[in-house]
């Protein structure tokens, strides 16, 4: 019998992580496309780092930054009464971090793909920066942004290393599907993991297939 609970937890974590990563990623992507500030390339490199950095290193930084003795960790605990690390919140943070670079890269490519003349036209027609962004820039970049959101969801559904470091592997609390699959295989209970393996594989391939479709059509236009 498969236990599907870790998969439900993964969906829950991925849902919140995708919302966070999308909001942050679009804002950072917009800033990267619109600024010539000297620190831009460095910020770009730092926000891309989670794609290549060892998960243990990332996890270590998160533990230092958000742990129970850190300023952020203490403040969080004072307000919400629970810690960030080794809770679901930690799992969401871990998944967000992993998917953030994907959203930033997709958002940046999508936003830069919009003809800048259209943005200038909106300004000369009386639209301020916010209205220009919401009515012209964002809708014209929508396809690429949706692709980024799908990638982010697929990525945060499967985070392993950072989640293990920051949230632990607590059954029912932070044991997501990726962690449960690892445990099952370690204990020679492959049959218990088979269902989750199939679902994760299916979702990943479906997401990447859709992303390719979305971005391919944009190139033709």
């Amino acid at each position: 019998m498969s236990d599907w609970q870790p998969l439900y937890l993964s969906f829950e974590v991925a849902f919140f992580a995708t919302i966070l990563a999308t909001t942050l990623g679009v804002l950072i992507g917009l800033w990267l496309t619109s600024t010539r500030a000297p620190g831009r390339d460095l910020i770009d490199a730092i926000t891309s780092a989670p794609m290549v950095m060892p998960p243990t290193v990332l996890g270590y930084y998160l533990l230092v930054a958000l742990g129970r003795n850190s300023a952020v960790g203490r403040a969080w605990e004072a307000i919400f009464g629970s810690s960030i690390v080794f809770t679901r919140t930690g799992a969401v943070v871990a998944a967000t971090l992993g998917s953030l670079p994907l959203v930033i890269k997709s958002a940046r490519a999508a936003l830069e793909g919009v003809d800048p003349t259209l943005l200038k036209a909106a300004r000369t027609l009386g639209a301020g920066p916010a209205r220009t962004f919401l009515t012209v820039h964002l809708p014209l970049a929508a396809r690429g942004l949706v692709a980024g959101v799908m990638l982010a969801f697929a990525r945060s559904l499967g985070d392993f290393g950072v989640t293990l470091m920051v949230a632990g592997d607590i059954p029912g609390e932070t044991q997501t599907a990726a962690l449960a699959i690892y445990d099952a295989i370690q204990e020679h209970r492959e049959h218990a993991a088979a269902g989750m393996i199939a679902v994760l594989t299916g979702i990943t391939i479906l997401a990447l297939y859709t992303v390719n479709k979305l971005t391919a059509v944009r190139r033709e236009e």
Binding site: D115, T124, G126
Partner: protein
């Protein structure tokens, strides 16, 4: 039109700016000229600073020093720290690519430029009226992707003129047009300018085009004004080899 009552000086564009290039060269744009109601051509070779001048006038770039004003309204004054944002200047900018919004209908494009404080129904009526005046009312609910070159041009002009701009800027919109389109475009633009009596500044490096449309010419070269004056004095007809589509306007 209400604006026709105002004396000419109150509707004259005055430009006196110095622009530093962010990238490369010691090139500095340093121009001073005035554009009264009617058509003024900013004439000069590619890279002479024509487009930069337009960008400074509409506020897409910020000059290092100087002043830009339309009549008594100061849009930019470096010394007094005045910088009116692009969207508040009331300028119609017609881009070379026309820059119609591909995700909006023709009607949506024209409505976009009308003031937010105008009632919805009023905006719609005004946009429909402008499309009808440009003879493209039948395109109202269609999107730009399906427009022919001439249709796109007319919708772009309807959008530019709908908010009753106080200044019209044209950035070489003719380069992508064939003769017929150019002739229609010139007639439509002339029609609006003659009626509204606002200044129009048109950038080009084509002599025939300049002669066909201009009341006045400002010669610009390497970021400096070389001369300015009436079109016949600045670009004498004797040196022309006029193309037929433009000839009729010169002979008028």
């Amino acid at each position: 039109m209400k604006s026709s009552a105002a004396p000419e000086a109150e509707r004259t564009l005055e430009v006196d700016v110095r622009v530093e290039r962010a990238h490369g060269h010691d090139f500095l744009l340093d121009v001073k000229f005035a554009a009264p109601p009617g058509v003024t051509i900013l004439y000069g070779p590619s890279g002479s600073g024509k487009s930069t001048t337009l960008a400074a006038i509409c506020g897409l770039i910020t000059p290092k020093a100087g002043r830009i004003a339309l009549g008594g309204e100061v849009w930019f004054d470096a010394a007094r720290g005045i910088r009116c944002p692009v969207e508040k200047r009331g300028i119609a900018f017609v881009f070379q690519s026309l820059a119609l919004f591909p995700h909006m209908t023709a009607l949506g494009n024209v409505e976009y430029g009308l003031p937010r404080k105008m009632a919805r129904a009023e905006r719609r009526a005004r946009a429909e009226e402008m499309l009808a005046r440009m003879k493209v009312a039948h395109l109202a609910s269609r999107r730009p992707g399906t427009f022919s070159g001439g249709e796109a041009q007319r919708v772009a002009l309807a959008r530019a003129f709908a908010p009753s701009p106080r200044l019209v800027l044209l950035d070489e919109p003719f380069s992508a047009m064939d003769r017929e389109l150019r002739r229609d475009f010139i007639a439509d633009v002339r029609g609006y300018i003659d009626e509204a009596r606002v200044p129009l500044l048109h950038v080009t490096h084509h002599r025939n085009e300049a002669r066909a449309l201009a009341d006045r010419v400002v010669l610009i070269e390497a970021g400096r004004i070389k001369a300015q004056g009436g079109v016949d004095e600045m670009l004498p007809a004797s040196m022309d080899k006029l193309d037929d589509s433009l000839r009729i306007y010169v002979e008028e």
